[in-house]
């Protein structure tokens, strides 16, 4: 950590905020302490300082004071810099405390803490102890792909990554224009335009292998106006409507997870009930039924019966 550098950066911010005129690099150098004598070294340091300030979100504006100026200058407009007035009621501050803890150990944890600091700096009083409305949500981002994908979405840049689709034994290279990231049922997805396939695709972050690389300049991705990333992921994760009927023989007192969604339950042979239930597709329901092992027998339909038998035989194979 360089104390002098921090001091110099702070000086630039104060200087540029208090001027209405654009100040050239030389004028800044004259007003701020700590730039070295050799001009080339100064220029290099000044370029780095500007990048650093912009990374912090400080709106450095470039312009000229008159059309006759041949060298552009810099200033910071107060209305672009300052957080507008914001006052929170006690219940709002309590909710803010909960929201700031959501990312606790995840990608946005630092950003949430930074936001809280700025709101406190704006005068917000939040007392964590007072905020106990009994609800504690958490989001996690264990997938290393989350960080770079969020940056790509935020800055509208295309990306490439290697992806192993469900059920495939090898990974494939994908080039994607990402439109948004979505968490559904605790899993992260990215939705966007797959360039090679020239189609809209959804990818699960946990199936991305290796690094996510930027494949274009910021601003080079256009998100279609009608793209709804939530809906895309919901459709991808779609389960078919329950429009088939199964007849099952379920042992007395067992198969509660099946009975819970039964259309009807009636006594069958001694020790067993006959349960009728609706289901969407055979593989999904066969998985569900097989879970109950020797407590359930499929009577109908035959394809469901065969699918369960195949699973049981698969165990013994």
């Amino acid at each position: 950590m360089s104390k002098r550098r921090t001091e110099r950066l702070l000086s630039i911010v104060v200087l540029l905020l208090s001027t209405r005129r654009y100040l050239t690099a030389d004028q800044i150098r004259a007003a701020v302490h700590g730039y070295p004598e050799p001009y080339d070294t100064f220029k290099r340091m000044f370029e780095r300082d500007k990048d650093e300030l912009r990374d912090l979100g400080i709106p450095l504006e470039v312009g000229v004071n008159s059309p006759l100026d041949d060298e552009p200058g810099y200033r910071i407009r107060r209305q672009d810099y300052e957080l507008p007035e914001i006052t929170l009621e006690a219940d709002e501050a309590a909710v803010l405390g909960i929201a700031a803890r959501v990312w606790q150990s995840a990608e946005f944890a630092g950003a949430a803490a930074g936001a809280l600091l700025k709101l406190r700096a704006a005068g917000m009083e939040d007392d964590d102890a007072a905020a106990a409305p009994g609800i504690e949500p958490r989001l996690r981002t264990p997938e290393p792909a989350f960080g770079p994908l969020w940056e790509a979405v935020r800055d509208r840049r295309p990306v490439t990554f290697s992806y192993r689709a469900q059920g495939r034994s090898d990974a494939q290279r994908r080039e994607v224009e990402p439109w948004g990231v979505v968490n559904r049922r605790g899993r992260w997805y990215v939705a966007g335009h797959d360039r090679a396939r020239n189609a809209t695709r959804v990818f699960r972050l946990s199936r991305i292998e290796g690094p996510v690389r930027m494949a274009g300049r910021p601003g080079s991705v256009t998100v279609p106006g009608d793209a709804d990333v939530r809906e895309l992921v919901r459709d991808w994760d779609w389960s078919p409507p329950r429009d088939h009927t199964a007849v099952l023989r379920v042992r007395d007192g067992a198969g509660l997870g099946l009975r819970r969604y039964a259309l009807s339950t009636e006594p069958d042979v001694p020790g067993w009930d006959r349960v009728t239930a609706r289901f969407g597709d055979v593989p999904w329901y066969a998985d569900h039924v097989a879970w109950y092992g020797p407590d359930v027998v499929v009577l109908d339909p035959p394809d469901l019966r065969e699918a369960v038998i195949a699973r049981l035989k698969g165990v013994l194979a």
Binding site: V95, A99, R164
Partner: protein, 321 residues
């Protein structure tokens, strides 16, 4: 144990300084100790920060000090702050961190008015920086059949005991118990009730979609003082060393298992197969999982479990003979 000194970049420190000045300005005067806590620094670091700010000197063309402050007697007062009296705007990341979390929170049934008001205020304050947050969405599952989530929230607010009929799929059992509610947790997209269970005499988590029925009792909740919250940041299910170590081999079709259940280790095998090892106090659910996976999964240990799975499959298959 002594902490190694934290390395802070110039940018991070500048971010802190730009918040520190308005923090003091907006409070007129504020204690050193209290401020150090708010900024997560030691008092010594805070004094270094204040000295740095105070030392800023500009020449334009005559030297002057734009910021004047003091911290005599442990009270910080900024008497001149010029242009940095207000905090910097929120960045896109900062605005998104809060807005995405708040929109997720507003999906939980219950009183959402404070959440909606706060979202509107933050969107207004963040301005353009709020736009990117629309590109991140969180959908959580809050089963609210029969208003379960809402009933729990009101029982929490009123401090009342609950009676639960709760389904345990691994054992295929419906259990009945009285619980004293502690918190509603939303983790990994699912909603859980954290409660003191009078049956188990301990803190337990109940998944809301497994609550078969619920009754708010006319009995005050009495969570013991020494009941400890589940540490949600460490993962909800922490295996203990006394648990059984189960090993599974999973085909490419069954790789989801290694994502769904917390595994101790996952190793790649040939042809897209995985070997996964996990710990569990009760292996009955693994027997059921094995039947569900069929040829896409193989339980490889411990040996008792391997033979139990084969017996289950043979017994189930016999019913189709």
């Amino acid at each position: 144990m002594t902490q190694p000194p934290r390395m802070v970049t110039s940018a991070e420190r500048l971010r802190r300084l730009l918040a520190l000045v308005p923090y003091v300005v907006s409070r007129k005067s504020v204690g050193l100790a209290e401020t150090a806590v708010a900024f997560g620094v030691s008092e010594r670091e805070l004094v270094d920060d204040l000295n740095l700010v105070w030392c800023v000197e500009l020449s334009s063309p005559d030297p002057y000090c734009p910021i004047d402050l003091s911290y005599e007697g442990g009270e910080i007062v900024v008497s001149q702050a010029e242009s940095i009296a207000r905090p910097l705007r929120l960045t896109a990341d900062e605005a998104s961190a809060l807005l995405v979390a708040l929109r997720m929170l507003s999906e939980v049934p219950g009183d959402r008015s404070a959440t909606s008001r706060l979202i509107a205020k933050l969107e207004a304050a963040a301005g353009e920086a709020a736009a990117a947050s629309a590109q991140v969405a969180v959908q959580i599952e809050v089963p609210n059949e029969d208003g379960v989530a809402q009933q729990i929230r009101s029982a929490l607010a009123a401090g009342r005991r609950l009676h639960l009929r709760y389904y345990v799929p691994g054992r295929d059992e419906a259990t009945e118990r009285d619980v004293d509610p502690m918190r509603l947790l939303v983790v990994e997209g699912r909603t859980y009730l954290e409660a003191w269970c009078l049956l188990a005499e301990g803190v337990r988590l109940f998944r809301l979609d497994r609550v078969l029925s619920l009754e708010v009792l006319d009995v005050p909740s009495a969570v013991p003082e020494d009941a400890e919250h589940v540490d949600v940041d460490q993962g909800l299910f922490r295996p203990s060393d006394s648990d059984v170590l189960v090993t599974l081999e999973l085909s490419a079709e069954a790789r989801w298992v290694a994502e769904y259940y917390p595994c101790e280790s996952v190793t790649e095998l040939a042809d897209g197969w995985l070997r996964a090892a996990l710990r569990t106090p009760d292996t009955r659910w693994v027997r059921r999982l094995a039947l569900r996976l069929g040829e896409d999964g193989r339980v490889t240990g411990p040996p008792e479990l391997v033979s139990a799975v084969r017996q289950d499959a043979a017994a189930a298959l016999a019913l189709y003979a």
